[in-house]
Amino acid sequence: MNFNSFRYCMRQSIISLHRNLWLAVVTAGIIAISLSILGGFLLLAVNADQMIRNIGTNVEIGVFLEDGVQVEAIQQKLDNHAGIHSYTFVSKEQGLVDFGHSLGDRVLLIGMEGENNPLPDLFRVRTLDAENVPAVAAEIASYPGVEMTDYGEELVGRLLKITGWVNTLFLAVSILLALGAILLIITTIRLSVLARQDEVSIMKYLGASNWFIRFPFLLEGMTMGWTGTLAAAAALAVVYYRLATSLQQEALTFFIQPVTDTAQLLPIFIGLLLLGTLMGGFGSFISVRKFLRV
């Protein structure tokens, strides 16, 4: 396709969009709504993921040591472990004090100080990733001098299960919404092709290439796709910014803080724009295909 053809195709798609302006606006609007929901789900997914990660990093592994063991040796191993976020050491004496505080009545612990202290020395370990808690706990349990490890196995298991369900749900809803939007574009472009059916059939008789015929419709579909998505992205950005700001100001518990990192959010918006444009192009391609068989 040379420059003259490209210019002609551009002009045709602009004329066609102008002629069917209301239909194009409605289609772009419905794409905007579909992709807003899709984008909303994606933002929710990112935030849910961060929330689960936050909860996960709060899950502690209790590492109980045998009596008289070399604490430094174990400490060194924990320092060198790549999957560990942080740890604190709680000596048996400190443990007794903490236990007393939790009981609220130190009198009950009289006689348990010193050699009679039944509590072991322990480390409280936090992993980098909630998914690794079971594996890290098992590994630490095998260190010499470690009597046992303990963590909220049930909580971690439940969190992982919820994450899996949430991801599957988001994926299914997103695919359904994307399919709906593509079907809509196919219908709109088909109306546009039908309106220009005579022109398309004459083009074939005049020796126009399939790409020459297809290109204005592709441009038309892609324009509807990306304008719809642009509107969706703008609306999402405004709503998300307001929500995020108010959540941060409310200073709720640490783990439901919204994601505000641009590096995480920008790919979602760019991805939506690309997806909307590609969906527009794909829908047009399908619509025009049938009319090219002359």
């Binding site: 003259n4 053809s5 002609y8 008789y205 005049l206 126009a208």
Partner: protein, 229 residues
């Protein structure tokens, strides 16, 4: 230039072939009438030469190339060498006469400069210089068909093929149109016209290829329509 060897076309679901073992050769610069009653196979023959349809059997050559075996880019090149004229004119109502003719060059990616040069010349050849800015609805049937012819000749094709070009016109307009085709032919363009209007064929005294029920029953230089058909 065009060579058909034992060409057969059988449409799916039909018991009788639309074309049955037709062999024919057309030289560059010839003027040929395809005659016969409705259903004789005239339009099918035109569709096969244009490669709108594929033959069920036999071989068809255009400028030495097997038409049925053309690849996509060769097919475009093939179709660009043929100017088609239709009974129902097939003009775009929302475009002016000038734009309709220019359309033939635009779809081939020709430059605006070339379009501005060639379109008025084509309109001049068909006698419509003064109607360039009119819309098809404002023209008579004869004038609309002239626009169709201008659109066909503006890309300088080797062949003009017309399927019942006078089907919607009165006698005077038909006669004028045939004179126009003859002028185009005298300038070196091969002209193939499918028609069942015997008056035109008898008057023109050109080569006549007569078809009946898909079979070629006569191929005569300077022939007439023959009333028996």
């Amino acid at each position: 230039m065009i060579e058909l060897n034992n060409v057969t076309k059988q449409y799916p679901g039909c018991t009788v072939p639309a074309l049955d073992n037709v062999s024919l050769g057309i030289e560059r610069g010839e003027f040929v009438f395809l005659v016969g009653p409705s259903g004789a196979g005239k339009s099918t023959l035109i569709k096969l030469i244009f490669r709108e349809q594929l033959p069920s059997g036999g071989k068809m050559l255009f400028d030495g190339r097997n038409i049925a075996a053309l690849k996509q880019n060769q097919l475009l090149e093939h179709r660009r060498q043929i100017g088609m004229v239709f009974q129902d004119f097939r003009l775009l109502k929302q475009k002016t006469v000038f734009e309709n003719v220019a359309f033939a060059l635009e779809v081939l990616g020709r430059s605006p400069k070339e379009i501005i040069e060639k379109v008025p010349t084509a309109l001049d050849k068909v006698g419509l210089s003064g109607k360039a800015q009119s819309f098809p609805d404002k023209l008579s049937g004869g004038e609309q068909q002239r626009v169709g012819i201008a659109r066909a000749i503006v890309k300088d094709p080797l062949v003009i093929m017309a399927d019942e070009p006078t089907g919607n016109l009165d006698r005077d307009n038909s006669r004028q149109l045939m004179d126009l085709f003859e002028t185009i032919n005298q300038n070196g363009t091969t002209v193939i016209i499918a028609t069942h209007e015997w008056e035109i064929v008898d008057r023109m005294q050109k080569r006549v290829v007569a078809l009946e029920c898909g079979r070629m029953i006569r191929d005569e230089q300077q022939g007439g329509y023959s009333h028996e058909l």
